[in-house]
Symmetry: D2
Subunit: 346 residues, 4 copies
């Protein structure tokens, strides 16, 4: 059994991670750290665990956590992550961080988009960007994983084959993404009240969202040159799920089969990438509840543009599920253990 | 034109009142008071008013408001209402208060259920309970109206004919009410976040909700003796609307026509009470957007029980719309002016 | 491995059953029967199964199903169930039926409330009402299980200890139930369109819903005399979940601890019944995604009434999950196999 | 008073038109034609009208309608519209058609995108595209108005100033639009069931939606040359509202003020176009319930792209409200009569 602790267990990303870990057959949950709810049973805060997981939340005790855990998941706001992780890392623990703090190659890019100094730039060299479909080999031997952002996971997986194979004009990439409200976390704020979000949709942080830089980093690596994208996130009146509608100009005329075959090869053997056949497109209800990323596309001959549609569950493939996928890799397990549930649809 | 000010204009009840007043042909909006948003244009806070009502919110200046207004609506938390109203009242203004502070005959009952001392018990003698269907004549000559609570409006209108005519056992009344989330206001709290309310329903304050006492007060007056009811509010994943499902044991065997005819007579001429014929029952989509209270019922011969179903828009008939109805009465206008919109359905 | 077939696999109850069976470690899915979608892969109809379960739906071939299955789940409209089950039963198969056809002791009651003749009244003697918390021993040796209705499961579990121990007046029981829209199935109809259900709540079939009779049957057995209840179902703008708010008059004065201790004893050892402590009440988000029934209560001294609140996932404990629980019992497995997931909360 | 009839009064667009006409001070509602609900009171079908509008729906009697009406609104599926309108037109009536049948300059384009023969291509010469912000003068003297589609209204108003002033590369236009489910009408179908639409978003008819051609027609006129756009509609889990996120490459470097000033001038005096200041963007809750189109934008210097966000209520500015705006123009009324309600926000 792998001894696992979660720091930041009572936010939405944290609790979903706990829910998934609870059903993982090779995991023993050791510490659930929550500053806000320390000393309270997790099942008081999330009564869905009543009768199943009545563990009490604890406050942050690095030494104890390090001693009693094989791997620690940190699900804290960026910057704070930054303060906790080095101590765990120095104690030889494997750490999978769900914040943005350890996703970057360049401190400069991080500091520009996050507007804060990075506390431990040295650790960025040790950390690996935890998108298994692109970096599986590096992850295998890593001890610090920067678990990808939800929007970036959904966008990068949709674009990687096209960018890698240079089929699109790199300056034409537009990602119009729509996310459920769990992505914004559980901290109370007026803009996230039911009566504000319900029966509404809004674009936010247009052209300035931090995830832009994360997407650009990964696509630039694939393209082997710097590129800039347009990224527009929207807040949906749903709890879970991200749908990305991605536009790019094709360099040459392609038909559906060409593109389908390219993606099939690129993602051959990937357990969590699902391609849709012609005439079918992903919807968030296809993936919510699962660790899968669904990908579909339409080739538009009139405009010579490709429209790629991708969907993930932001809390699973976009957070806790992918974190567990990374843990499975770090510990040499079958990558799908604990992650085989189909989406719920209903 | 009636010069109108609204104190507490930027809460949900307040802004809905403003929206209705904006379309009232005999109203001039003078002051929109908001402590949180003073000096900001109302259309920044609620962009639905952009290009229509760009008035700036002001902070509370009792003298100025009193001087420049004919009537003041106060939409403040209970207790606070209490501090503002006497000053306005002493300056000779008509006041319509949307809080619970001036709805009670008995200071004792108020203080027991609200758990605070009443600041101005003397004024309770002056105030009138603003449910026009029961107290129209008193309202006509009042200067201080305690505008009814949303749940009480919906429950009392459903029960009044039965209680008045002694057709039910008074100790058998159960009101199972379901409300939209606007009823809880705009103050951020975890329990009101989209991800908490969406795809959920919960009962809350079972047997202890303050509105219980308000319903009991009015039904006791009708019954001419003290009675106690069971009242259970529920939070729905919708913005607006209250549906009350009301149960009571019949004293004798009645059929649908008997009951329908009783209600028809009781509410003859009422512009905002709508009865459903046999086989049809109110739904909140029938009333949302309107000042109407819809009433339907089923007589269950098996159990000799009547089930009354009532629906109102909690922000209109349950708050701002009823407040305007009261204003119309206070100023001798046709009671329906500014309140003639049908429900939206969609 | 238990060889399992599902007849009626593509309705909402059917597909949820398939989703749960897919993750059951001792189940082999053999036939997914769907008249409407025969010869189509299940993953075309429900793309959440893409890449996981690409089995093709088949049309109904009783002989083949009987030959190749150890147990058959039938999830068909009542009456139709009736036509399929005897043939399977005669071929010696175990059958778990999700319709209302085999839930009744009395043909007369069935025929009165369903308004049709029962095709095989003889089989009613063989069938067992599949509520394990009340009938576990009978289920163990049964070959035909009438899987309980969703509303009855939620109501009966909430009332059983009170009725059994004669703590309430039997003629005072009122069940005000609220259900998600999956309960109404996937057949297109105007009343189930998104724009009709969203932002709405309505009561329907007041005092006439078929599940009334099912609840009365089971409570009458517990009470050892005939009783009649008031049951009001409501349609909620959510996909899953039932919340029942249940009212009854107490025969004597009780406090919370008395009642809690009674329920604790009654449900001692039950893996899927979860009691809430004082001050906490079930919500559908606590149970959606799980096979649990949560129960909480408030004792109201003012009215000497008890209010019991129960919640289940109508598609799991109210349908497919309970059906699997029954299968586990029929085959001597641990009752919780394949059913250990906590609720989703989000 | 203008005598008005509505043909197709009981679909979602039709009933919303009726709701708006009901409150129009210069309108007398004469015939509400509904084949499906002929001889039934409209308030049985839409109980929100109970006690307000109890008119009975009638079947289609062209002669009578023509005789007793000054203007007829037709809200029928395309193709059917086509069969009814010529008869009304020949009888000298003014007709405002909400279908796609009379929106096109070119029969060929219509027939290509709609896949049917146009029944009366001759009448296309008589009809005017009813977008007042672009064609007010033509509308004034028209007798047949092709009321614009919902998506085109929202897209064209967002792009018109940029296209007209040639500030963007015409081949770079991408419109990513998100619509509420009322846009799909009230005809039952599986894909529109609550449980299919709720908690979901999906793209549909990518690169092939008919409204593409309508947008291209109008933008090509403004650009004075043919252009092709990418248009992707999405179905949102909301009832009302369209949000369009529009991308285009700027021909030269511009800042926010430049663009704002351009739009201000272009739409000077327009009563139903509302611009958002820097840092604010339209959301559908700003416009739902109103006839306004809100427009905001972000100039992205990194990519030299402009992102325009527009929002309308698809049932009002995108259908019935705009139809009434056209009626007001046709009859020489103030264009805003009956259309002055602010959005609801809640």
């Amino acid at each position: 059994m792998i001894r696992v602790s979660v720091v930041g267990a009572t936010g939405y990303a944290g609790i979903e991670l706990v829910r998934l870990l609870y059903s993982h057959p090779q995991v023993e949950l050791v510490h659930l750290v929550s500053q806000s709810f320390a000393e309270q049973p997790i099942s008081n805060i999330y009564p869905n665990f009543k009768g199943l997981l009545d563990k009490t939340c604890s406050s942050l005790d690095i030494d104890r956590i390090a001693e009693e855990s094989d791997v620690v998941f940190t699900s804290l706001p960026h910057g704070i992550s930054n303060q906790v992780i080095p101590a765990l890392y120095q104690r030889g623990k494997k750490v999978i961080d769900l914040s943005g703090d350890f996703r970057y190659k360049s401190v400069k890019v991080y500091e520009k988009w996050y507007g804060v100094r990075h506390g431990h730039p040295d650790l960025l060299k040790e950390s690996v960007y935890g998108l298994p479909e692109l970096h599986r080999n590096e992850i295998k031997t890593a001890r610090l994983v920067g678990n990808p952002g939800c929007y970036p996971t959904c966008a990068i997986l949709g674009l990687a084959p096209l960018v890698k194979h240079q089929l699109i004009h790199l300056n034409s990439i537009i990602i119009d993404a729509k996310s459920g409200a769990t992505g914004a976390g559980r901290e109370p704020s007026q803009g996230l009240l039911f009566c504000e979000v319900d029966e509404n949709i809004k674009a936010y942080k247009v052209a300035t969202h931090r995830h832009t830089s994360e997407i650009e980093q990964e696509l630039s690596i694939l393209a082997q040159r710097e590129l800039a994208i347009s990224f527009t996130p929207h807040l949906l009146p749903v709890k879970r799920g991200i749908l990305s509608t991605i536009y790019a100009n094709l360099k040459k005329t392609l038909n559906f089969e060409d593109v389908y075959s390219l993606y099939s090869q690129f993602y051959a053997g990937e357990p969590f990438v699902v391609l849709h056949h012609e005439g079918s497109l992903p919807e968030i209800k296809h993936v919510n509840g699962s660790n899968s990323c669904h990908i579909g596309f339409v080739v538009d001959r009139r405009t010579n543009r490709i429209v790629v549609v991708t969907a993930i569950d932001n809390l699973i493939k976009g957070a806790g599920g992918q974190a567990i996928q990374n843990m499975n890799i770090l510990f040499g397990l079958d990558e799908t253990v604990g992650l085989r549930s189909p989406g719920w649809y209903l």
